[in-house]
C-alpha cells in the first residue's frame, strides 16, 4: 500500500512537468534553437542557402559600416522613445477619462480600442492617403480656405519618421488605455473616499497615489510596447516603404529585404542578432525587477 501511495505521489509530482514539456520544447527548439541557428548563420558567408563556413564577425563589420543599417537603428531609437512615451501618456489619460464614469463608456472603449483590431497593412494605406500632401489633409485644409497650410512630413526626409510615430500611436494607445483602465478599476474605492475626505484634488490622487499603485501594469505595457518597437515593420512598409529614399527605414525592414529580396541570409541574421541583443539588454532588467518584486510579495 505504501509503495503505491508513494508511486502515486511521485506521479502527481511529475504531472506538472509533463504538462510543461510541450511548452519547454517549443521554447528550446522554436526560440532558443532558432536563435542559435541565426547566430551560427550570421558568422558564415551564407547567401541564398546556409553555408557551413566560418567568417568570424565579417557580417557584423559590414552591417555597422552600412549607412542604411545605421540610419535604421537611429530611426528605431527616435521612433521607440516617442512612440512609447506618447502611447503611455495618451493611453493613461484616456483611461483616466473613461474612469470618470462617463456616459457611453462601452462605446468609447470600443472606439478607442478599434484601431488596434485592424491590420496596419490596411490602415497604414489610409494613413498614407491622409498624410500625402497632394491628396490628403494638406489639400483638404487648403481647399477649406487656408491656402498656406502645410503638412508634408511624409515626404520630408527629416520628418517622415514622426508620421510613422503618429500612426502607430493612433493604433496602439487604445490598447494601453484598456490595460490601464483594468488597473484603475482594480483600485479600492475606499482609497478615493479617504482622499476626498482629506480634500486632495483628483489629479493629485492619480499622480501620487494611483499611478505608483499601477506599477506592474505600467511595466507590462512597457514590455508590450517595447517589443512592438523592435519589430516595427508593417507600418513602415504600408506607409512609406522605408522612403523617401531610405529615410524611414527600420531594422526589421532591412533584415527582411536582405533575407528574401537580396538573398543574403548571413547579413540578415547578423541584423536580427543585433536586434535580439538590444531587446535582451533593455527588457531583461525590467523583467528581472518584476520577478524580484513578485518574489518579495510571495514571501510576505
Amino acid at each position: 500500500m505504501t509503495t503505491t501511495r508513494a508511486g502515486r505521489r511521485r506521479l502527481r509530482r511529475l504531472v506538472p512537468w509533463g504538462a510543461l514539456l510541450p511548452m519547454a520544447l517549443t521554447v528550446l527548439v522554436g526560440y532558443l534553437g532558432t536563435a542559435l541557428w541565426s547566430l551560427r548563420v550570421s558568422l558564415s558567408s551564407s547567401r541564398t542557402f546556409p553555408q557551413d563556413d566560418f567568417v568570424g564577425l565579417a557580417q557584423y563589420e559590414r552591417l555597422f559600416t552600412n549607412e542604411r543599417w545605421l540610419l535604421s537603428l537611429q530611426n528605431l531609437a527616435v521612433y521607440g522613445v516617442l512612440f512609447i512615451a506618447a502611447c503611455m501618456v495618451i493611453g493613461f489619460l484616456l483611461a483616466v477619462f473613461i474612469d470618470q464614469k462617463v456616459q457611453g463608456e462601452g462605446l468609447l472603449r470600443t472606439v478607442f480600442l478599434y484601431p488596434y483590431a485592424m491590420s496596419f497593412v490596411a490602415t497604414g494605406l489610409v494613413w498614407q492617403w491622409v498624410l500625402n500632401p497632394g491628396s490628403g489633409l494638406q489639400e483638404a485644409v487648403r481647399r477649406m480656405g487656408w491656402p498656406e497650410f502645410s503638412f508634408d512630413w511624409i515626404i520630408d526626409q527629416d520628418k517622415v519618421i514622426y508620421t510613422i510615430v503618429i500612426a502607430s500611436v493612433w493604433q496602439a494607445s487604445g490598447l494601453v488605455m484598456a490595460l490601464m483602465l483594468a488597473g484603475l478599476r482594480g483600485i479600492d474605492e475606499d482609497l478615493w473616499k479617504a482622499a476626498r475626505i482629506d480634500g486632495i484634488p483628483a489629479w493629485r490622487v492619480y499622480l501620487s497615489i494611483v499611478l505608483p499603485m499601477l506599477g506592474s501594469t505600467v511595466a507590462t505595457v512597457f514590455v508590450l510596447l517595447f517589443t512592438g518597437v523592435v519589430k516595427v515593420f508593417d507600418s513602415v512598409v504600408s506607409m512609406t516603404q522605408g522612403g523617401p529614399g531610405t529615410a524611414s527605414d527600420v531594422p526589421a525592414k532591412f533584415i527582411m529585404d536582405h533575407l528574401f529580396g537580396r538573398a543574403n541570409i548571413a547579413l540578415a541574421s547578423a541584423g536580427s542578432m543585433v536586434l535580439l541583443a538590444t531587446v535582451l539588454a533593455l527588457v531583461a532588467p525590467v523583467l528581472y525587477a518584476r520577478s524580484r518584486g513578485a518574489a518579495g510579495k510571495g514571501l510576505q
Binding site: 526560440y31 542604411r68 496596419f120 498614407q128 500625402n132 512592438g228 529614399g245
Partner: protein, 428 residues
C-alpha cells in the same frame, strides 16, 4: 504592429533562415498530403509557380497555359503574389523535396545559388533540339546558360527604361517634336515646367529611382561605361568624370518632379501622363498596360522612346522559368514539353501582346504588336545594342546595395564624390 506576440518579428526571420530544418519537415508533410489524391496522369502535368497576378498578367499566363494544353499537357497554375514571395515559396518547396515542375525567376542571377547547389534540371536536350543558341539574344543566353548547361527557359523580355511622354502635355507646353537627345529632353522638361505642368512624373520609390538612373546611364554614359560599371565593376570607371556626369544628370532630373512624388506608385505616375498633367515618365514597358486600360494608343495619345540616337542600348530584363531537379520521368517529360512550348514563336507573340513585353526571339511576326514593341524588336535585331539589366550582372545583394545608394542620392544632398566612393565600395 501586432504588439502582444513577443519577439515575433525576429523569430519569423529566424525561422525563415532555418529553412533546411523546419521547412523540410513542413514541406515533406505537405508533399505527403498532396501526393495522396493524385493518380498517375497520362498527360504531362506542369505545376508552375509564378507571380503574374494582375489583370493583364493573368491574361498573359492564360496564353501560356492554352499553348501548353494545345501541346497535350496539363497546366496547374500556382500564382503567388509578389516576386519575392513567389521565389521564396519556390525555393522552400525545392529544399523541402516537393518541387514544382517549373518556377518563375527574373532573367538575372537570382537562381545562380540554386544552380550551384545542383537543384535544377538542365534543359540541354531541348535547347539543342530547338536551337536556342540560334535565336536567343546573347545576353539572355549568358544568363540561362551556366557552365555550358541550360538551366532556365526565357519567357519574355522587358525593357525597364523606356521614356514615355504625353502628347497632350507636350502640345500644351508647345513642344513640337519628340526629343532626340538628353539635352532636348531637358529643354522639353523646362518648357513643361514653364507651362505649369509637372515635367517628370515619378514615383519616389527605390526601384523607380533606379530605373531613372539606368536610363541616364545608358543614354548619357553609353554602352561602354554601362558595362564597365555594372558588369566589370571597374573602380576607375566608377571614379571617372564620365560617370560623375551620369550621376549629376540623374540628380538634375530630380529637380523636375513634383513635391508629392515620394512614395507614389508607378501606375499613379503613369496616370499623370494619361490625364495630361505631367509630361514625361521613365518606366518599363509594362506601363503600356496602363495606357491601354485608359483606351490610349501608342503613337496617338502617348509616345515611347527606347533611347536617344541610333546606337542607344536596349536593356534586357525579363522572366525565365527554371526546372527544379526531379527524377520522376513524368515530371521530366512535363518540364521538357514546357521548355519547348514557351519558346515557340506563336506562343511568344500571343504572350507578349498581353504582357506588354517583347518576344525573346526576333524572328516572329510583329505585325500584330504595337509600335513601341515593334520599335523594341527592331532595335533587338542589332546585337551590339543589346545589354543586360543590372540584375543580369550583379548579385541581388550588390544590386540592392547600389539601389540604396542611388535612392539616398536622389533624395538627399550628398556630394557626388561620396556617391562614387560608396558605389565603388558596394560593388567591390
Amino acid at each position: 504592429m501586432t504588439l502582444p506576440i513577443h519577439l515575433s518579428r525576429p523569430l519569423r526571420c529566424r525561422v525563415a533562415s532555418a529553412w533546411r530544418g523546419v521547412v523540410l519537415v513542413l514541406a515533406a508533410a505537405a508533399a505527403a498530403a498532396q501526393a495522396a489524391p493524385q493518380g498517375p496522369a497520362s498527360a504531362p502535368k506542369a505545376e508552375v509557380i509564378h507571380w503574374w497576378t494582375s489583370g493583364g498578367e493573368s491574361a498573359a499566363v492564360k496564353t501560356l497555359s492554352d499553348a501548353y494544353r494545345a501541346a497535350g499537357g496539363t497546366w496547374v497554375d500556382m500564382a503567388v503574389a509578389l516576386g519575392e514571395q513567389a521565389r521564396s515559396v519556390a525555393i522552400n518547396r525545392i529544399i523541402g523535396g516537393n518541387p514544382p515542375t517549373a518556377a518563375q525567376f527574373n532573367t538575372s542571377r537570382q537562381f545562380l545559388d540554386i544552380v550551384e547547389q545542383g537543384m535544377l534540371n538542365p534543359m540541354d536536350e531541348v535547347a539543342a533540339r530547338d536551337g536556342w543558341d540560334k535565336f536567343l539574344p546573347e545576353t539572355v543566353l549568358n544568363v540561362v546558360r551556366v557552365k555550358g548547361h541550360y538551366y532556365a527557359v526565357p519567357v519574355d523580355i522587358h525593357m525597364p527604361a523606356w521614356i514615355w511622354y504625353s502628347k497632350a502635355a507636350f502640345k500644351q507646353a508647345g513642344i513640337a517634336a519628340e526629343p532626340k537627345s538628353f539635352d532636348e529632353l531637358f529643354a522639353a522638361l523646362d518648357k513643361l515646367k514653364a507651362a505649369g505642368l509637372t515635367p517628370l512624373a515619378h514615383g519616389g520609390q527605390s526601384w523607380q529611382d533606379n530605373i531613372v538612373f539606368t536610363a541616364v546611364l545608358t543614354n548619357v554614359g553609353g554602352r561602354e561605361l554601362y558595362l564597365k560599371v555594372l558588369r566589370d565593376r571597374d573602380r576607375a570607371a566608377i571614379q571617372s568624370d564620365a560617370f560623375k556626369n551620369v550621376l549629376l544628370t540623374f540628380k538634375r532630373l530630380q529637380g523636375y518632379v513634383d513635391k508629392a512624388s515620394p512614395g507614389r506608385n508607378w501606375n499613379d505616375a503613369t496616370a499623370m501622363l494619361i490625364t495630361g498633367k505631367a509630361g514625361v515618365q521613365f518606366m518599363g514597358d509594362w506601363a503600356k498596360g496602363e495606357f491601354t486600360l485608359a483606351g490610349q494608343v501608342a503613337g496617338r495619345e502617348y509616345g515611347c522612346i527606347a533611347g536617344f540616337g541610333p546606337a542607344s542600348p536596349y536593356i534586357i530584363q525579363g522572366d525565365v522559368f527554371v526546372f527544379p531537379k526531379t527524377t520522376n520521368p513524368e515530371a521530366m517529360r512535363a518540364q521538357k514539353l514546357l521548355a519547348s512550348v514557351i519558346t515557340s514563336p506563336a506562343t511568344q507573340v500571343a504572350f507578349s501582346i498581353k504582357k506588354g513585353s517583347i518576344p525573346i526571339r526576333t524572328d516572329v511576326d510583329a505585325s500584330k504588336m504595337d509600335v513601341c514593341a515593334q520599335q523594341g524588336l527592331a532595335i533587338m535585331k542589332d546585337k551590339s545594342r543589346q545589354i543586360g539589366n543590372g540584375e543580369v550582372y550583379l548579385t541581388p545583394d550588390q544590386n540592392g546595395a547600389l539601389a540604396d545608394i542611388l535612392t539616398a542620392f536622389w533624395n538627399r544632398n550628398v556630394p557626388v564624390e561620396k556617391v562614387q566612393k560608396d558605389i565603388a565600395a558596394a560593388l567591390k
